[in-house]
């Protein structure tokens, strides 16, 4: 019997590059240290090419433990691109903050390989392994700025709560295994539809699973760790975490619920509905009071998780689930682009020893650096969801699929939450253009400027013609 590794080829490229770089980085003299990020980016590009080559290539592999479909290809393309963006974000930042160790890129590659595995997981044990492969390097990266106390504290908090959520998730998997005698998504579904499963235990197991992933994704009421961790981690790590880790959790959750749990939709739809509403409202309201821009963006990320969770609510409804999945994954791409742009601005403005991170420090920056100010305006408009930015279309499709599913109250709560969010997003822009402030010198670096420019252009241009990107998302079907 031969094993077919093609379904996990992108994962193998990234994980292999990480292992190789871990060793090679030790032997390079200091003047060749730039080779590590370069080769890391090259391996990600190679993985991207392979990944895109797998479009429309539906296949299950490794004894049906993994599955590739257009959904996983689209999600993995987002993960790989966010990895490349994260390298651009980090290159200058970790040099000037004195944490330029090659392991930074290696850990990042390991984390991305976990994400790549996560979106293809067709078995709960792969979900667990991928989640750990994704998280453990992130715990280390969060504490990478040691001996800075806030970084260490954030790392320990993230570690303890992350391990707690893994434990809950694992117990949920154990209960599902006990209830159905399977850990594969299709096995669970077939046991449930044959009626051989213990239904109360399936519901409890599914709920544990939901809580475990909700912790990782920073869903209210399991979000307490997120602002602290986002604030304490090195800013380049925070930017990576706020997109990649969150997205991977949701992608896995979406596949699990849509494939395996439609039979328990009656019990869990209202829970999802409640979590989504609560997350949108609490995230946006808590963001208003923040003075530190990293904390503000952390709460904004929580709120954005709430919007994405809206797409989960109709997971048991076969008629509209495809629309819902498409709008969620489209929103994910939209959020990733605007988010990396905004974090690149934050990294550029940050000064030595963690100064320049208060929103007050942004006073007057828009007048002295008009391009930076306009870019930040574009990102903030996209977060709010105003036209002509891409964020408008993200919210438009998301709300459309929610209304199609007849969850009018949920849609109204989402609109209200977006309205609240306009206040704190626009406050940053107002601060940049309409106030005078201290003379902060913005860091000029071609990688950072490039990242800001490309993201801003993408948000604007794709906002003018969202059709092609949305068509790609609409083709990104889950194979049921």
């Amino acid at each position: 019997m031969t094993l077919d590794f093609t379904p996990i080829l992108p994962f193998m490229i990234v994980a292999g590059a990480a292992l190789a770089l871990l060793v090679l980085d030790l032997f390079w003299p200091v003047r060749l240290k730039w080779l590590t990020p370069l080769l890391a980016a090259a391996s990600l590009l190679a993985a991207l090419v392979v990944e895109l080559g797998q479009a429309n290539y539906l296949r299950a592999g490794l004894s049906n433990m993994v599955i590739i479909d257009n959904f996983s290809v689209f999600a993995n393309a987002i993960f790989i691109c966010s990895g490349i963006a994260a390298i651009a974000l980090a290159y200058d930042y970790i040099q000037r903050t004195g944490i330029n160790h090659g392991e930074y890129y290696v850990l990042m590659l390991f984390s991305i390989s976990g994400m790549l595995l996560m979106s293809t997981a067709a078995d709960l044990i792969i979900v667990f392994l991928a989640l750990e492969l994704l998280s453990v390097p992130l715990y280390v990266l969060t504490g990478f700025a040691r001996p800075r106390l806030d970084s260490e504290e954030a790392a320990l908090k993230y570690f303890l709560l992350g391990a707690f959520s893994s434990g809950v998730l694992l117990y949920g998997i154990a209960l599902l295994y006990g209830a159905t005698s399977y850990t594969s998504l299709h096995g669970i579904l077939s046991a449930v539809s044959r009626g051989t499963a213990d239904m109360p235990l399936v519901v409890v197991g599914a709920a544990f699973l939901l809580v475990g992933v909700a912790f990782k994704g920073g869903v209210v009421p399991f979000h307490m760790w997120a602002p602290d961790v986002y604030q304490g981690a090195p800013t380049s790590v925070t930017g990576f975490m706020s997109v990649g880790a969150k997205a991977a959790g949701f992608v896995a959750l979406l596949r699990i619920f849509v494939v395996a749990f439609p039979p328990v939709a009656v019990e869990l739809t209202s829970v999802m509905n409640f979590l989504a509403s609560l997350t949108m409202l609490i995230g946006n309201i808590a963001a208003i009071g923040q003075r530190n821009i990293k904390r503000m963006l952390a709460y904004s990320g929580i709120a954005q998780a709430g919007y994405m969770l809206m797409a989960f609510v109709p997971f048991g409804n076969k008629a509209i689930i495809n629309d819902s999945v498409a709008s969620m994954i489209f929103y994910l791409a939209v959020y990733a682009i605007a988010s990396f742009g905004a974090w690149a601005v934050v990294v550029a403005v940050e000064q030595a020893e963690g100064r320049g991170l208060d929103i007050d420090d942004y006073a007057g920056l828009g007048r002295r650096y008009p391009l930076l100010g306009v870019a930040m305006l574009i990102f903030m408009l996209s977060f709010i969801g105003l036209p002509p930015t891409l964020g408008f279309w993200g919210k438009f499709y998301l709300f459309r699929s929610v209304i199609e599913g007849n969850y009018i109250v949920l849609a109204l709560v989402g609109m209200l939450a977006s309205l609240i969010s306009a206040y704190y997003y626009l406050r940053v822009v107002v601060m940049m253009f309409l106030h005078d402030g201290a003379n902060i010198t913005v860091r000029r670096n071609w990688l950072l400027s490039g990242l800001v420019g490309v993201s801003a252009l993408a948000v604007l241009l794709l906002g003018l013609m969202p059709g092609p990107l949305f068509q790609m998302a609409a083709d990104a079907l889950l194979r049921l």
Partner: protein, 101 residues
């Protein structure tokens, strides 16, 4: 005489609840960490009990994976705690309050 699977499950549930309570209540990061391990092993016990009940090997193999992952987490977690202990000579989680707002 075979012990019914329900006994193992009850024990596993008790261990899991003890672990979860320990994480929420205890202050010393090492004890919190031990409580986390208790949660993982509660799940392991459930896996093994179910594997025996269904006469499958799947559940036992999963336990190997979980133990490996738990070992990796121990390495990272203890390293973090040592780094923090060096800096502030305490690993009381209630004193971790630089970050708030």
């Amino acid at each position: 005489m075979a012990v019914p699977v329900a006994y193992y499950l009850a024990l596993s549930a008790v261990l899991f609840v003890m672990g979860a309570l320990g994480v929420l209540v205890r202050r010393n990061a090492i004890v919190v960490f031990m409580s986390l391990e208790l949660m993982f092993n509660a799940a392991n016990l459930a896996f093994v009990a179910f594997a025996r009940y269904y006469l499958q090997l799947d559940g036992q193999i999963i336990v190997f994976f979980v133990m490996t992952v738990a070992a990796a987490e121990v390495a990272v977690g203890l390293a973090l705690m040592v780094a923090i202990f060096r800096a502030r000579h305490s690993i009381d989680v209630d004193q971790m309050s630089i970050l708030k707002g």
